[in-house]
């Protein structure tokens, strides 16, 4: 079928030819998309895998070279109309998306040659009669080049081949296109140039090649970046092209050239229409500078930081987010203290702006702001005092927000940790501040979420304190729980969770408190308060993560002798423990599985539905951790004959359900 279509490419009538090429393009694109979507299904069945493999081989060896040849014939035909040329380009674009791409170096070379003639020929013709068609053809040719360049990976094009073909043939033409007069062609040409630096690195170009490319790119891009009365699209493309030039090929640019680009970037940052694109460009460059000593951002550091801080006061959420992300990466480029001369009061104002936007009305912005503050503190430990005065109050208010969760919570934790390790604040002081957050809201009830969050915060800062402080901290917490009375159930809950979260990070058995902690948990299981019971179960599960050998035998022994409610609580501890291991994706639990399994199997046929569903969750979670061990066990449970067949089956069914969905209630 495909071969027949390719043969008909030489059809005389143009309309007919265009239709045939388009039809073939359609066929090819369906094949490509079927292959990529098929991969998902194919993972499980081997027979179809073979069939799929055959298609690929076919495409690589015969069809692609045939297509390229046929397309070339279309492209260089003197009398060939623009329409068939354009559809040939579309076909090649589709082909370059396929596995295997356009083909080896020969094909790439010849395709580039044809495209060059398109870009070139019309340059001469332009003065005589500029048709809309020839312009759009040029645009399409540039698009094709961009697609080929961006698809340099082991499955498709070989970067070295593309590079070798690109340098002599295409690059001068593309650079020339930047000086065209149709804005779309200019923008597309700039986009192609944006791909070039990355390709150079992939294709392991030599130093002289790099220098050559860098200077020609600079010459092409600089004027477009400098002019201000241009189309928006051109400006944005010029910004991203210069970002990619600077971040990859900075070693080949002269200092003067670099400073010129930096100045222009700064100018664009100040302009309202281009600032977002400029921020993105700066983020890209600073991400590169972070990992590379030789790219120095210092000339514009001060000005950029203050400019970004200004943008934080804007109402525009998107702008705020990009500015924050840029700030975050940019600050990390700051090397040692003495390296760059920083303006006095710069961090003062930046941090003040950062602190102002921390509120639970927008947690994502919160997360970015906290993480930027953390980066500042990391890069400049001397800013600790400023963080304490500008960021900490807002962070504490945030810590008692019932909405606080995931990314915002984790960046808050990282910041608190950094505050302790950089000695900006002492552990005791920060802990007291955190505990106070519970008391201030005495009027209303503190929600469960808040207690959980505060407990994690306190446990996190305790985990980075000195061992001596940790010891006295955990002892005082245990005493507090022991002494607690019914009226301050909330603080008991907090303390219980603190011990659990702390035990998750630090092995409690090495501090000699594992036994007393386990005793408290067991006592709390008998508490009259349901929430305390529940939190004690969670804490026991989490503490076991840090010291599995110390806690697990106790849990299992208790499981053996208890029944009903207590069994349920112990199983939920076990579930929490397993889930913590799942969050970490660690296999620290594998050696304990043989110990756990008999107990779970036994409780599969418990009369109480609550116990059974907890067992099912444990089994489901374990199956996610160790499918090879657990799945056969589940199968065996289903097939084994027992008096309570229905109960066992119920449990296994739910366990499989949990394992498949991976969700936790």
């Amino acid at each position: 079928m495909a071969g027949a279509l390719v043969n008909r490419f030489k059809e005389r009538e143009e309309n007919c030819r265009v239709d045939i090429i388009e039809c073939f393009t359609r066929l090819l694109s369906y094949t490509v998309s079927a292959a990529s979507s098929g991969v998902l299904v194919l993972a499980s069945s081997s027979t179809m895998d073979d069939a799929y493999g055959a298609v690929v081989v076919d495409l690589r060896s015969n069809v692609s070279s045939a297509i390229v040849k046929a397309c070339e014939r279309q492209l260089n035909a003197k009398k060939g109309g623009d329409r068939s040329k354009s559809s040939a380009i579309a076909l090649l674009s589709t082909l370059s998306l396929a596995p295997g791409g356009v083909g080896g170096s020969d094909q790439i070379n010849s395709v580039f040659k044809e495209l060059k003639s398109i870009l070139n020929v019309e340059d001469d013709v332009k003065h005589k009669h500029v048709t809309a068609n020839s312009k759009s053809l040029k645009l399409e040719a540039l698009c094709l080049v961009r697609i080929i360049l961006s698809r340099c990976n082991p499955h498709q094009h070989d970067a070295t081949h593309v590079k070798n073909a690109l340098l002599p043939i295409m690059l001068p033409e593309i650079c020339k296109c930047v000086n065209e007069d149709w804005y779309k062609v200019i923008a597309e040409a700039l986009r192609v140039l944006m791909e070039v630096p990355h390709l150079m690195v992939l294709g392991s170009a030599s130093k002289s090649e790099l220098d050559m490319v860098a200077s020609s790119l600079y010459v092409a891009i600089e004027p477009r970046l400098a002019l201000s009365d241009l189309d928006q699209e051109i400006k944005e493309c010029a910004l991203s092209a210069s970002a990619s030039l600077l971040s990859v090929l900075h070693a080949s640019l002269t200092l003067e050239q670099k400073n010129r680009i930096f100045d222009l970037l700064l100018e664009r940052l100040k302009n309202e229409t281009t600032r977002i694109a400029a921020i993105k460009a700066l983020s890209k460059i600073s991400a590169a500078a972070k990992s590379n000593e030789s790219l120095d951002m210092s000339p514009i550091m001060n000005a950029t930081l203050s400019q970004l801080a200004l943008l934080l006061r804007q109402q525009n959420r998107g702008l705020m987010q990009t500015a924050l992300q840029c700030l975050d990466t940019l600050v990390l480029c700051l090397a040692s203290e003495s390296d760059v001369e920083m303006d006095d009061g710069l961090f003062d104002s930046v941090l003040k702006d950062l602190g102002d936007i921390i509120a639970d009305t927008d947690l994502h912005v919160c997360h970015l702001s906290l993480s930027a503050s953390n980066s500042i503190l990391k890069a400049r430990p001397s800013t600790g005092a400023l963080i304490n005065s500008h960021i900490l109050p807002a962070a504490l208010t945030l810590s008692k927000s019932p909405l606080l969760q995931d990314p915002a919570l984790s960046s808050l934790l990282v910041l608190l940790e950094e505050l302790i390790t950089s000695k900006a604040i002492t552990f005791e002081k920060l802990r007291d501040m955190m505990v106070e957050q519970m008391d201030t809201s005495n009027g209303g009830k503190v929600s469960k979420q808040v207690i959980t969050n505060l407990a994690v915060c306190i446990a996190t800062i305790a985990a980075v304190a000195t061992p001596a402080k940790q010891k006295s901290f955990i002892k005082s917490t245990i005493t507090a729980i022991n002494k607690s009375e019914d009226e301050n159930a909330r603080s008991t809950q907090l303390n219980l969770l603190v011990t659990g979260d702390f035990g998750r990070k630090i092995d409690l058995s090495t501090m000699g408190v594992a036994e007393s902690v386990q005793k408290i948990y067991n006592q709390s299981f008998d508490s009259s308060n349901e929430e305390i019971k529940h939190d004690a179960a969670l804490a026991l599960g989490r503490a076991s993560v840090g010291a599995i050998c110390a806690f697990l035998p106790g849990i299992l022994a208790d499981l053996e002798k208890s029944s009903g409610k207590k069994q349920y609580l112990l199983l939920s501890s076990l579930r929490e423990c397993i889930n913590c291991f799942r969050e970490k994706e660690s296999d620290g639990l594998s050696s304990s599985i043989p110990l756990i399994l008999p107990h779970l199997e036994k409780n599969c046929e418990s009369d109480e539905e609550g116990v059974r569903s907890m067992v099912a969750e444990c089994l489901g979670s374990l199956a996610c951790l160790e499918p090879k061990t657990i799945m056969p066990v589940l199968q065996q449970l289903v097939t084994k004959e027992t008096p309570n067949k229905a109960l066992v089956n119920w449990t296994v069914g739910s366990a499989v359900k949990f394992a498949i969905s991976g969700r936790i209630r």
């Binding site: 998902l40 499980s44 069945s45 927008d362 289903v638 229905a646 089956n649 069914g653 991976g662 936790i664």
Partner: protein
Amino acid sequence: MCNFLSRVYFLKTQTKYLLIHLCVVSPIEIAPFMPTFLGLLKEDDIGVKNVALLMVYSAVHNTPQLVIPHLKELILPQMIELAQLNMERTINLGPFKHKVDDALPLRKAALTVFATCLEKCPASLDVSSFMPVIAKALDDVEDIQLQTHQIVLTMCSRCPIPVVGAADSFVAALDKTVNKKKGQKTGTELERVYEWIKSGLRVMIAISRVDGAMTNQQFAEFFNRINNSSAHQFLLNAVDDDC
């Protein structure tokens, strides 16, 4: 208004971060065991059947490739059976008699699984073999009827051919639904009856728009009769407004 919009946006961005990413079992690990677990669908105990259906649902929803190979032989026959299971029993409460249908959750779950299959893997589903079940479900209790109406609406847009073939078997049940008596009901109860009838009318209209449905004499007669009935005009207009 602006405030409201920002609030909506805020909620949207918040929920995005609610999903905790935890590892799940890779389908390759479970696949060899699936036939055994799917055998649970055949167990006698209703609770087990229900859990098994939930399991199938979660598989279809999360990793359809796990169930697709077994859909035809192991799952669909059971689903067809379970979706028609009726276990009504009467509880004697002295002066009152109360009817309980233990199989109701099963029927609901089976229909949900079918609806999810229709969404996730329609190509592997033998839709026409399920048509008698749909016809029966259209005559079931209220919430199953409403659920089935949704399924038929989906089928009308996604796989209309079996619907056309089975249109005449739907007529009796739909006729009953759209001619529900409102009795002495007022207020919200009346509203509910109207919504029920409207849901039936929507299905009727959707089927009538499918190519070839009107060549089915029985359905065409039903459609024309309802369309011209004065009692249905105000509800038909309301349905039209919704569309």
